[in-house]
Amino acid sequence: MIDTEGLTRKFGDVTAVDGLSIHVKEGEVFGLLGPNGAGKTTTVRILCCLIGKTGGEARIAGLDTADEADSLKIRQMIGLLPENVGLYDDLSVWQNLDFYAKLYGLGAREREESIGRFLGMLDLREKRDRPAGTLSKGMKQKVAIARALVHDPGVVFLDEPTANLDPEAAKTVRDFILELKKEKRTIFLNTHNLDEAQKLCDRIGILKTHLLRIGTPEELRGSLWGSRTVIQLAEVTGSIVAAVQQQAQNRVVVEDRRLVIDVTDPERENPDLVQAVVGAGGRIQFVRELAPTLEDVYLQIVRENS
């Protein structure tokens, strides 16, 4: 549905996006992670036909973003939530949404139904006649989301949808994105909120001008290290460590009263490890899995490439 091949954008001597190749399937939630200035917004702007590219290809549903005729068709089938909500402060919530619905060619009845539906879903019905400028940040963000969806687009681009929102408003927005995911819309999410990416995205690309890594959250976490088993003991003795080392072939680190053991197949290896510890006289308090977080992965990949 969203395809880029060697996508490049330069601003003078500065390269904002370098050779980006990604393929997002229909109905997939794809997250683009990266630090500020990584080229995430530039990528979204190219895909939404807002700015041109200087190299490579970008297509939405097979339509070329660089082709003038195609770009109008693309803009009809996508919805964009930009980083800044960009509402008309003097117009009411309803007038803001009605204006955009008209631009997308919706008739009077369709506009009424669609706007009413999204105001209901986003709990904005009571605010419909309030000037947008008088709303809180969270409310404005919800109106902007409704604006991006008012024409029922199949592809939605969300650029930092929860940035600068308080935790409650951010949760509401995230829950709404999960609703969109259930509706099988293709969602392209720019974020530097790792927790958000992990919760919402089917696949994640880590971008820092060029694409550093791509995969499912699990694949990315697995790429840093496999799995680790942590065994917390009442007391760690040399005989226990020796017994575990013999079992785990020297992939053991002792941290205070904990043994951190690298395992390749936890379901097969853990029972033997526990048996070795108990056999060596160890008193086990807890056994748990230590999996790398997306944050661990992200930080390591970005640092490696800085």
Partner: protein, 248 residues
Amino acid sequence: MRLSVAWIIASKELSIFRKKKSIFYSVIIFPLFVSVGLPLLVHTLMAGSGITSPNDITALLSVINAFAFFFIIGAATLPTAIASYSIIGEKREQSLEPLLATPTTDGEILLGKSIGALLPPLVAIWIGSVIFMGLIDYFLFGELGYLYYPNAVITVNMLVPVPLAALTAVELSVIISARVNDVRTAQQLGSLIVLPFALIYVLGEVGIIPITVTGLLLLSLVLFIIDAALFRLAIATFSREEILTRWR
């Protein structure tokens, strides 16, 4: 270019204009002053000095003809208030990006904004001109014995150079607004457009440039050429690539 899309944008601009009282009043005060103030001035002059000879009448009509030029000056200045706000307001509210993401062309957005900036001043000026003509006729009918207005000069004036001058102001405002972030600065820079028109007015008053149908049509030709050049510049300035990557 789809006029229906441009009209949707123009309607939105007009909705915002109605809520901006300061801009609304700035657009109606000038035409009100010209349409009521100048005929009253004529009336006061007539009452004070009296009209005693045909030469007095000729001189008075010449002054009144030149007064009509004020409508061109108004047309060249009033749209800057709306056009500047229309673009800088969107820059400040950061509302251009979602607008540009809709299935509209740059030309449709620019046309919609231009219509939104042109219509209120033009309507105010045209209504003002009707009041102006009515009052002048009311005050002069006794001396002339016939209705002076409407005549060919003011008809040409209101239908050709007035809209063209308003268009010049809008296009200039678009170009200026792309480079500044403050509505007042844009309006002040845009209002400099009044200087050449004021010069033409003075030259008309002293009889160097005749305020006749031919003179107005020649002025219109010059304005048309300027508008065509500014239009190309405005289109180049108002492209989504420029707006999102160069506008600050």
